[in-house]
């Protein structure tokens, strides 16, 4: 079956966002694409940490109360608090240089814009974190190999939902560990698949910092599935994760969490 595909890439929030439409929805593709970029650019103006005059930056400097801010600001900050509590501090927007919401904004913005745009068959890739819509298992998504970026760790098949991968920052080997308030030499790459990119991203970020320990310390939500991998390719998975693996990909030697 041939599907008409439209795709477009745009740099927003300092990240490449690419939108891929599997087939025409009610709107012509171009309208959907432009609506998506407009929505994401709106969030960028509100949340950008690069723009001194963004609402979030003014709020953090104490120049702007929450009430005159766009309602999304309090929504995202509340979400960040929930995320910190849910992950027992493994996810925290307060970094070495003060509060930096960009770690949660990317996933939130992609998820929210995708939902608001009403895409029924397509996906949005926000710098490696992806929100998708479509029939069951219609998208094949590769997961980057932590030790060999040219290769794939495995391939998963997802219809509607989200997938996020964190860890082994390509900028170097350090991830900020909000629990110890130090840079940690994490060796973990964490991929989380689930219904919502906001939480897939939060959980992946937390798991990359803590490794498998996270699954013993937090109340892990059943509808999210994780794949953790160390630099040698040793993989740990939640029991539901292999369900998503593409059948033609050799199974990983998995340890179940």
């Amino acid at each position: 079956m041939t599907a008409a595909v439209a795709a477009d890439v745009r740099m927003i929030m300092g990240l490449p966002f690419s939108l891929h439409l599997g087939k025409d929805t009610e709107n012509p593709a171009q309208i959907t694409i432009e609506a998506m970029w407009a929505e994401l650019c709106r969030y960028d103006r509100i949340f950008s940490t690069y723009r001194p005059d963004s609402q979030v930056m003014r709020h953090f400097r104490g120049e702007l109360d929450l009430s005159p801010c766009d309602r999304t600001v309090s929504e995202v900050l509340a979400l960040a608090n929930t995320a910190r509590a849910q992950t027992r501090g493994a996810f925290d927007i307060n970094g070495p240089d003060g509060p930096d919401p960009s770690g949660i904004v990317k996933g939130w913005a992609a998820q929210t814009a995708f939902a608001r745009t009403g895409i029924e068959h397509g996906y949005l890739n926000a710098g490696g974190d992806i929100v998708l819509a479509g029939p069951d298992r219609c998208w094949r998504i590769g997961i980057e190999h932590p030790a060999d970026p040219r290769g794939l760790l495995t391939v998963v098949e997802i219809g509607s939902g989200a997938i996020a991968t964190s860890g082994r920052a390509h900028r170097g080997n350090h991830l900020w560990d909000p629990r110890t308030k130090t840079l940690s030499d994490t060796l973990w790459q964490a991929t989380v698949i689930g219904p919502d990119l906001v939480w897939a991203d939060i959980l992946a970020t937390a798991a990359a910092v803590t490794g498998p320990e996270l699954f013993r310390t937090i109340d892990w939500p059943d509808c999210y599935h994780a794949l953790l991998c160390d630099q040698e390719g040793v993989a740990y998975a939640t029991p539901g994760a292999p369900h998503y693996f593409a059948i033609d990909i050799a199974p990983l030697a998995l340890c179940f969490l």
Binding site: P16, G127, W139
Partner: protein
Amino acid sequence: MRRITLAIVSTMAVLVLLFSYRTSLGDPGPGGATARAASEARVLTSGAPATTTATAGSSAGAGDDPNQITTPDNSSSSSSSSTPDPQEAPGSTPSTATPSTSPATTPTAGTQTVQGAEEMTRYGAVQVDVTMSGGVITDVQAVQYPDRERRDQEINDAAIPELRNQVLSAQSANVAGVSGATYTTQGYLASVQSALDAAGFTP
């Protein structure tokens, strides 16, 4: 196949690894500046007469079926799945391309090289040539990249081959996208994308 590359283009990790020090941090300013540039890709050479005016961001092709499953070793399937669909997507998107500046062809078995748009990064412009043959990307070469300083040059000398390798290997894995820990902007990838758009690249 095009989508595969697209996805890689948007998630490429190697470049981030190599460039994140300084060369590929894109301007986080008002969104859209780079995308505008992306519309200026042009077809340099073509193995086939121009039969359609492709528009950026549109494609149609049998190989785009996400359900299609091939093994990573699909050297033969790349040709079978790459039969050009003679019909342009009805939902083709005028996108940012200006048809008059990006005349494109329906991909055929001929080899064509398409130059991506010049993408500005904080440290200079990036531009690539993408070579396609029979609906398959066969090569990616940077024609312009930041090299004002020795450090840039060293980084880029390592990065360009990696870029090429990743685009090519993603193509053979037949995935729609790649999830990875990618942090920075990638002018390179936008340039590859614009080249594919300009060619109306379909598998």
